[in-house]
């Protein structure tokens, strides 16, 4: 199975993967990472009170998939020589902007729809300490390399900023999990994602020729 074939069946993979799809995910890091990101979006949407309604409608996933195709993540198999890093990486990473924008749209709609009306059984947890820093994802590492290729002097600062916003996102996600009805916690989460989207956008604006 190729990446293109996998991308065609991606919107239909709500029930799990067959043998051929699992084999492709084992050997293809980019498709595997895409599935992980989409599953993370699905998990986070659930924490905002979608438990009674289930997952977002297939139309939402289709819209995300269309955006990813337009940005070239799900693409035709290469028939010519591979374009050397970092130009290929730069174009590949531009999918992150619409993916984050789609995530922000989903979260914004859920916050607007649910507001303070839902009552959940979870009790308020005591203050949650910040999560320790985690290892940056493959895409984030490639984004750092892309920034460093264009402007080496900015590498350290960009890495530091990316680490800071990742910490913000983690803390905000944890806060919403603990207090799903808390409007201020929801505002923190929206703000954290906006900050992260801004970091990606400004890095790619400076790096992609």
């Amino acid at each position: 199975m190729t990446c293109d074939e996998f991308g065609r069946v991606l919107p239909e993979l709500e029930g799990g993967h067959n043998l051929e799809q699992r084999a492709h995910l084992r050997v293809c890091p980019s498709c595997s990472e895409l599935v992980a990101e989409l599953e993370a979006i699905s998990r986070e949407a659930r924490f905002l009170g979608l438990e009674d309604e289930g997952e977002p409608s297939p139309r939402v996933w289709n819209s995300i998939e269309i955006a990813l195709r337009q940005e070239g993540l799900v693409r035709e198999p290469l028939t010519t020589a591979v374009v050397p890093f970092p130009r290929n990486v730069g174009r590949r990473l531009t999918w992150l902007i619409p993916a984050f924008s789609a995530l922000l749209l989903i979260l914004g709609l859920l916050v607007y729809q649910n507001g303070g009306r839902r009552q959940l059984a979870e009790s308020r947890a005591s203050g949650v300490p910040a999560q320790p820093a985690s290892v940056p994802s493959v895409d984030e590492q490639q984004l750092v390399e892309l920034v460093a290729t264009g402007t080496p002097s900015l590498r350290a600062e960009f890495e530091s900023d990316l680490k800071a916003v990742d910490g913000y996102v983690r803390d905000a996600e944890e806060s919403v999990r603990s207090h799903p009805n808390d409007e201020i916690a929801q505002q923190y989460l929206m703000n954290a994602y906006e900050q992260k989207a801004m970091v990606y956008e400004m890095a790619l604006n400076r790096s992609v020729p």
């Binding site: 303070g116 203050g127 300490p129 910040a130 402007t151 002097s153 900015l154 600062e157 960009f158 530091s160 900023d161 800071a164 916003v165 910490g167 913000y168 803390d171 905000a172 806060s175 201020i184 505002q187 923190y188 703000n191 954290a192 906006e194 900050q195 801004m198 970091v199 400004m202 604006n205 400076r206």
Partner: protein, 282 residues
């Protein structure tokens, strides 16, 4: 006669110094109509914008080497200028220093990785974006002000009737005498300081993840305030009347209430930084 000779010699010396250093000075002039739009994309170097009483945009660019060129474009009253880096350019050789004179109602958009960026005494919309650029905006009225930096510090001074949005990841943001219908500042780890009236019956929102928030207001400020820090301390110098809201104030980490007639809405939110609503000593 003697003075003219001195001026001539000085001019020749200055031009000689510029040419010897490899720098090139370019001056561009454009006639424009009302609410002209000027956009500068300059990877390396400062951009200063000041008002011009005439209906004309004047652009003065100092190119620091032959490894950079500028590409200007005019379509009616829309002017775009891009500093185009050539092969082998770096932040020093690719630097261009811009000085702009624009009509007061012009809309200005500036992009620079290093900056600094400066705009003053304008009434149009101002958009600035810079990774590490030091951003300084002052004496603006009525327009929209949108600023984004990654770690460049931002200072806004004397902005009135403005719609202001500032986003910085780790740059400190300082607002002095900034009032308007909408003022929103968000930062991940930078500090936010506000010193003003919270006037105009507006909505003010200062939000950080780990940065501290220091808001200083006079005793006559008319605000409805909500302040909360999940893991940091909050301090309040005002005596607040309890407001009618579902907000639950927790001693030491949150407070909420109204001061005077509560004309403006103020939110001070930090995940783990300190928050202090300070009363200005007159």
């Amino acid at each position: 006669m003697y003075r003219k000779q001195v001026v001539l010699v000085a001019t020749v010396l200055v031009l000689g110094a510029v040419l010897a250093s490899g720098q090139t000075r370019k001056e561009l002039r454009y006639k424009v109509h009302r609410r002209a739009t000027i956009s500068i994309m300059n990877p390396y170097g400062p951009i200063f914008v000041k008002p011009n009483p005439n209906k004309e945009i004047v652009i003065i660019a100092i190119l620091h080497s032959d490894k950079v060129e500028i590409d200007p474009n005019q379509r009616g009253s829309r002017i775009d200028v891009v500093s185009h880096l050539l092969a082998g350019a770096d932040p020093d050789s690719g630097r261009v220093d811009y000085e702009l004179l624009v009509p007061v109602d012009a809309n200005v958009t500036l992009h620079s990785t290093t900056g600094p960026l400066h705009a003053e005494r304008l009434r149009g919309d101002v958009i600035m974006e810079g990774n590490t650029a030091n951003v300084d905006v002052r004496d603006l009225t009525e327009g929209h002000v949108h600023i984004r930096t990654l770690n460049g510090p931002v200072t806004l001074t004397n902005i009135s009737d403005g719609h202001v949005e500032v986003t910085s990841v780790s740059g400190n943001v300082a607002l002095k005498s900034v009032n308007g219908p909408f003022v929103q500042v968000s930062s991940t780890s930078g500090m936010i300081s506000y010193d003003g009236d919270f006037g105009g019956g507006g909505e003010y929102s200062l939000m950080t993840h780990t940065g501290d928030i220091l808001a200083t207001a006079p005793s006559y400020a008319s605000i409805e305030v909500v302040a909360r820090s999940e893991q940091g301390k909050v301090e309040n110098d005002f005596l607040l009347e309890p407001g009618h809201s579902s907000f639950v104030a927790r001693a030491g980490s949150a407070f909420a209430g109204t001061i005077n007639k509560a004309a403006s809405s103020v939110k001070l939110l930090s995940f783990s930084g300190k928050i202090h609503l300070k009363k200005r000593q007159n």
